[in-house]
């Protein structure tokens, strides 16, 4: 692996940038692997990296239908936070947040993690009660989160309109200062590069078309567009397509896939200092380092795999953005796209073994998987390598739905997150 450093940059600059090489190989798939990971997004590539680095399992392939990082990894609004209500969620997301803080150094790849603060707006009395409950629960779990008055919120984010005559006035806010954003593509690329350097094969443009099982029910391998690949273990990290892949093994999961939209504006000078989320009016906004406003909308109502959503959903979000941030009213939006998010009934992920021996699944991240990428990949690699969950993801089993031990962030947040 070519290591990145100021010196390497200087050396290559002097050499006219002729010496840079591709950051990962494009290998033909081998006949057999110890672990085949289905899906080369951040979570899948990260899983491969931690399998190789922490568990010594290097005979690993990551198989991707499209191009790596081209699914929800490249489509989300890059918000990172860990201020979830329940102990189980706080442990999982805070594990991830702590890993984000050292990720660029770990991967020798700048993921541009920027802890600029995530501020969540409260617009109703119910919001205030819920957010204050979050703040107190988070403090008890060692997760930073603090309550701000409307005036303090405006001080933290000057473009914010705190006029009391708004349709949804700002009555306060919860601020997680350690939260922020990261460059989504760089996360996929950084993990791909680091995993590749440890011997992991990343096979792109190779759809998985079937999961082959032996007579005893255990996984034997995957059928792909490039033929059968034998595998001792198969780990599915296919986000919105998880139901489709798991159906190949005869499994039905508590998942539904919905389109979730995002938009970016034309790039402008730095004008927006933090991340602001308003769950009540479905508006999520930050400014990228390129200068674009990155705006997230809510999900569409219906199941779809079309990777686009209804215009009225995006318009609803823009209505809220224009009211909360009047200075953006004349901004032009450049692009609008959708990703397909797999949601569980309790809006918490599933990171678990399955009833099929040798088959593992990491799914159900719904509208908020990006923030968890390093932590999710880390505990999932542990689950696959040891055939038993890590302490942190043990509660995120499939059986929790049977046993009624939900981690009900849906009720806790009352909205998409």
């Amino acid at each position: 692996m070519q290591r990145f450093s100021a010196l390497a940059l200087l050396r290559n600059a002097i050499g006219g940038h002729e010496a840079w090489r591709p950051q990962w190989r494009t290998p033909e798939p081998r006949e057999e692997y110890d672990v085949v990971i289905v899906g080369a997004g951040g979570h899948g590539l990260g899983t491969a990296y931690y399998l190789a680095k922490e568990h010594g399992i290097r005979n690993v392939a990551v198989i991707e239908r499209g191009w790596l990082g081209g699914g929800n990894t490249g489509r989300n609004t890059t918000i990172i936070r860990s201020n979830y209500l329940f102990d189980e969620s706080a442990a999982l997301y805070n594990h991830a947040l702590t890993m984000w803080e050292g990720l660029s150094r770990e991967l020798n790849y700048n993921v541009m993690f920027s802890p600029r603060g995530v501020m969540m707006l409260a617009h109703t009395v119910h919001d205030i009660q819920v957010f204050k409950r979050h703040v107190h629960a988070n403090r008890a779990n060692g997760v930073d989160n603090e309550w701000l008055s409307p005036e303090q919120a405006k001080q933290f984010c000057p473009p914010l309109n705190i006029s009391p005559d708004l349709r949804y006035p700002v009555l306060g806010a919860a601020l997680q200062r350690r939260g922020g954003t990261a460059r989504h593509d760089a996360v996929a690329w950084g993990y791909a590069r680091a995993a590749d350097a440890l011997g992991v094969d990343i096979v792109q443009n190779c759809p998985v078309t079937g999961i082959r099982r032996a007579a005893n029910g255990a996984v034997e391998g995957v059928e792909t567009g490039r033929g059968f690949i034998r595998a001792k273990k198969v780990a599915v990290v296919a986000a919105g397509h998880t139901s489709v892949v798991m159906a190949m093994a005869g499994l039905r999961l508590p998942l539904e896939s919905f389109p979730l939209q995002a938009l970016v504006s034309e790039p402008v000078k730095p004008a927006f200092p933090c991340v602001v989320m308003s769950n009540t009016v479905h508006a999520y906004i930050s400014q990228s380092d390129k200068g674009e406003l990155v705006i997230g909308a809510g999900t569409d109502a219906y199941i779809s795999y079309s990777q686009r959503g209804g215009l009225h959903i995006a318009q609803h979000t823009l209505d809220a953005i224009c009211e909360l941030f009047p200075m953006f009213r004349r901004m032009r939006m450049l692009r609008n796209w959708g990703g397909i998010v797999d949601t569980t009934p309790d809006r918490s992920p599933i990171i678990a073994k399955t009833p099929v021996p040798g088959l593992y699944v990491n799914c159900g991240w719904g509208t908020g998987g990006f923030k968890a990428t390093p932590g999710s990949a880390h505990v999932f690699a542990h689950t696959v390598a040891r055939d038993e969950p890590h302490r942190i993801n043990a509660p995120f089993s499939i059986e929790r739905f049977r046993d009624g031990v939900m981690i009900d962030e849906a009720a806790a947040a009352a909205v998409a997150h």
């Binding site: 397509h241 139901s243 489709v244 159906a247 039905r252 999961l253 508590p254 998942l255 539904e256 896939s257 109502a301 219906y302 199941i303 779809s304 795999y305 079309s306 209804g310 215009l311 009225h312 797999d342 009934p345 739905f401 049977r402 046993d403």
Partner: protein, 89 residues
């Protein structure tokens, strides 16, 4: 935005409707007889197919009635529809 074929009123814009999820998820006749696995499967497991999908909608801001349609979840085009209680299309 979808243009949804309400079998009672005709094609109407999506904002007039509320979503009812997967169709033909019948409540078990004798819930007490079910195992925990079967009950969880009824409550939570869904087909979530990529392709042809039978789903329910309610024309909330129209006739107010539930109905079933079949939609392709790749293209979002409606394939067929029928009134509630009528045989499947």
């Amino acid at each position: 935005m979808l243009l949804i074929p309400c079998p009672h009123c005709g094609d109407r814009p999506e904002i007039e409707f509320s979503y009812g999820g997967e169709a033909h998820v019948a409540r078990p006749a004798d819930p007490a007889a079910l195992s925990d696995e079967q009950w969880a499967d009824f409550l939570y497991a869904r087909t979530n197919p990529k392709g042809v999908f039978a789903e329910r909608w309610r024309h909330t801001n129209g006739c107010g009635r539930f109905f079933n349609v079949v939609r392709d979840t790749i293209s979002d085009f409606f394939v067929a529809g029928h009134k509630d209680g009528e045989p499947r299309a």
